[in-house]
Amino acid sequence: MSDRRQPTNGHASLPLGKAPCGFRGFIDAIKVHETAGGLTAAEIENRLIELGFVEGAHVEILHEGAFARDPIAVRVNNATIALRRREAMAILAVADGHE
């Protein structure tokens, strides 16, 4: 299992939804701003956590879709999760080597 590091409280963090394919880093915070498809921000946050997106987890963008580079396949610690860039905007990550 990869080392887990402490959250860095924000500086140089990037929404995963904007990160390029191949991005590697650690989750700094989960902050859901918008509601979607009848789901509250809290519900989206819960679902992200249930799929393993918690602060300190290592993430890597493995693949992206053909249209608008969406959705993305993200390696979270030891599992691969597919999600859309819009939801990935809630995942703030710090690139490896920049913490």
Binding site: A36, G38, A42, G52, V54, I81, A82, E87
Partner: protein, 627 residues
């Protein structure tokens, strides 16, 4: 092995995250002693089975829908929650919860275990696929894991013959002490903070008890580099679908010929054994040729299911959803709708039931609305019959069978119209711009196991044969009756069927259906086709057999080629793409949407599409000289 008789059976429930191999474990433990039903009042499938432990104790095992937590985000997940919490009156509160986890990917499963602990029921963690974990060099300290979790842990390899021995012995050991004390139920829907804390705790336990290999397995990543590639991935998906439909059409041929031959000889046998008259006609034309003309499609249906089962077990289905998400999204469909829609190629009923994985209500309704447009296996008999009668078996471009190409085109038309209808529903009917989130775990690729796939195929074959033996059989009897009575008056000159009820019904429908090129024989066949689409083939066979004498029965296709114009044949093909020709599908839509409204909406729009499309097809074909 006699202790069991004197004691009550134990009740166990299988819980686990999606992709944990829970169903494989359930199959391994219960074998063929399974019963599938529904939970009262809801349409969630209840899978239960019986097994015996080495000491001879009987166990009632229930397989609960997969879930990441007990929060109950969909009807399926609510069932899991309610059974685990003992909230369903008709279900025995489980003596033991068996939480199944993929030993190679424990992170999310361990969080679920921590949540399940709060329920206060005896709990056992089953590390499934333990052989794969060992092969990959993942070192799991079972004692430490069990101590950290405070839950007994046992390993299993569901797909291996003796892979559940250890698990069953452990169950017997635990049973001696009634699976340990039950505690107080302190479960409440976890908040985000609690979920976070639990995931952190799970991560801590993983760090303490599990050592990942120096060189992790990269097979899945390397395969995905190709299969999820933006261009190559989509091309491969398309090629796979194309291969699937070519296979359905050409590989099944020899087997189908064999079955056809079998039923033909059986019909001859009956013909010779029985005296000429009503009974002979009933047995040969009504029963044997009717049921036979449907059973002959078993090989094609099995090949289609073989592909679906293999792709599912391989872990490719989730990838297909990933690749299709954006394309389907532009048509107003959810990426998760891909799997229900792909299942609808086999049959719209399991497809519509599979829409329960879509938790947004409107997305689910849109998917249900268009699922019947996917070309189900019951249409295959109709398509095959008409294509082989009217489309020459030529090779085009050197390697593609023209008949297969037309078949592919019919499937394509179904898909395109489904996308069109969902687009209209989403943007003009719902007036909705926002799409709900798409989040899906992509499991590691796994080689499908022969036993699991064989079992799945066996269940499908049995379902189809049961249908052929009941619904289809009774429809065939009805059709034979309608086509045979009343008997022609003495001295009548025309064929007997012209005086029958069937002819009266068919002629009554003529004013409505003549504009789309249908003759009265087709009209008659459409009616029993409502019970099951494929019956239309048998019905046509019966109608033409009784009309044209015994020789025609052997060659329905030949009869059609003689009696229909190409324009009529094309109009029937197009009619079948759209027409709401299946009462069971409509019944399932009513049940799944909780009311009549969407059933009638589906019926009306499909009927309208069918009529308009066949009308256009027929008249264009006539204008081009195919009339």
């Amino acid at each position: 092995m006699t202790i069991a008789a004197s004691t009550d059976p134990w009740h166990f429930a299988l819980v686990g995250t999606p992709n944990s191999g829970k169903t494989a474990l359930f199959n391994a433990l219960t074998g063929s002693r399974q019963k599938v039903a529904n939970y009262p009042g809801v349409t969630v499938e209840r899978k239960a089975g019986l097994l015996q432990t080495p000491s001879g104790h009987s166990v009632n095992l229930i397989d609960l829908p997969g879930t990441y937590s007990l929060r109950g985000r969909s009807p399926d997940e609510e069932i899991t929650r309610d059974v685990v919490l003992g909230r369903i009156a008709s279900e025995t509160v489980p003596d033991l919860l068996m939480c199944v986890a993929d030993a190679t990917n424990l992170r999310l499963a361990l969080r679920l275990v921590l949540e399940l602990k709060r329920v206060g029921r005896p709990l056992l963690l089953v590390l499934n696929m333990f052989d794969i974990a060992q092969r990959r060099g993942i070192k799991i300290d079972l004692a430490r894991l069990s101590a950290e979790l405070g839950v007994p842990v046992v390993t299993a390899v569901a797909v291996r013959r003796d892979g559940t021995g250890e698990l069953l012995r452990r169950v017997d050991d635990l049973g001696v002490s009634h699976f340990g004390a039950t505690g107080e139920n302190t479960w409440a829907p976890p908040t985000a903070a609690e979920l976070r804390a639990a995931q952190r705790e799970a991560d801590r336990i993983i760090k303490a008890a599990i050592a990942m290999p120096e060189r992790p397995d990269t097979l899945t990543a390397r395969l995905d580099a190709v299969l999820l590639h933006p261009v190559a991935g989509l091309a491969i998906l398309l090629a796979l679908l194309f291969l699937m439909f070519q296979a359905v059409f050409s590989w099944a041929r020899p087997l189908m010929d064999l079955i056809q031959l079998g039923f033909d000889s059986l019909g001859e046998l009956a013909h010779d054994a029985l005296p000429a008259g009503l009974l002979q006609s009933f047995v040969q034309d009504g029963v044997i040729s009717g049921v036979g003309s449907v059973i002959v499609f078993l090989p094609q249906i099995l090949i289609l299911f073989l592909f679906i089962l293999l792709l599912e077990d391989l872990g490719y289905m989730a990838r297909a959803a990933f690749l299709m998400d954006r394309i389907m999204g532009s048509a107003g469909l959810h990426g998760r709708a891909f799997i229900p829609l792909l299942s609808s190629f086999a049959c719209a009923i399991p497809g519509i039931m599979a829409t329960r994985v879509i938790d947004n209500k409107r997305d689910r309704l849109t998917t249900i609305l268009v699922a019947p447009l996917m070309t189900c296996s019951a249409r295959i008999p109709v398509y095959t019959l008409i294509i082989s009668a009217f489309i020459p078996a030529r090779q085009v471009w050197g390697f593609v069978n023209l008949q297969g190409l037309v078949m592919f085109g019919l499937y394509g038309a179904g898909i395109v119209s489904a996308l069109g209808v969902s687009f209209v529903a989403k943007y003009f009917f719902w007036h909705e711009r926002e799409t709900p989130p798409f989040m899906l775990e992509l499991p590691d690729y796994k080689l499908p196991r022969v036993r699991g796939v064989a079992m799945g195929l066996y269940l499908r074959a049995m379902m189809f044969l049961k249908r052929a033996g009941t619904t289809i059989f009774s429809m065939m009897v009805l059709i034979w009756f309608l086509a045979s009575f009343p008997r022609p008056p003495d001295g009548a000159t025309g064929p007997a069927i012209d005086y029958s009820l069937a002819a009266m019904i068919g002629r009554a429908l003529e004013p409505v259906l003549a504009p789309v090129g249908f003759n009265w024989q087709i009209n008659v066949a459409l009616i029993p086709g409502m019970a099951a689409r494929e019956v239309a083939v048998a019905a046509l066979g019966t109608v033409y057999a009784i009309e044209g004498g015994k020789e025609a029965a052997a060659q329905i296709g030949q009869a059609l080629a003689d009696k229909w114009s190409l324009a009529t044949a094309l109009a029937v093909l197009v009619w079948y793409i759209f027409a709401p020709q299946c009462a069971s599908t409509l019944a399932v839509i009513r049940r799944e949407t909780g009311g009549w409204r969407f059933m009638w909406v589906t019926f009306a729009y499909m009927l309208a599409l069918a009529y308009v499309a066949s009308f256009i097809t027929y008249h264009v074909a006539v204008a081009l000289g195919a009339g």
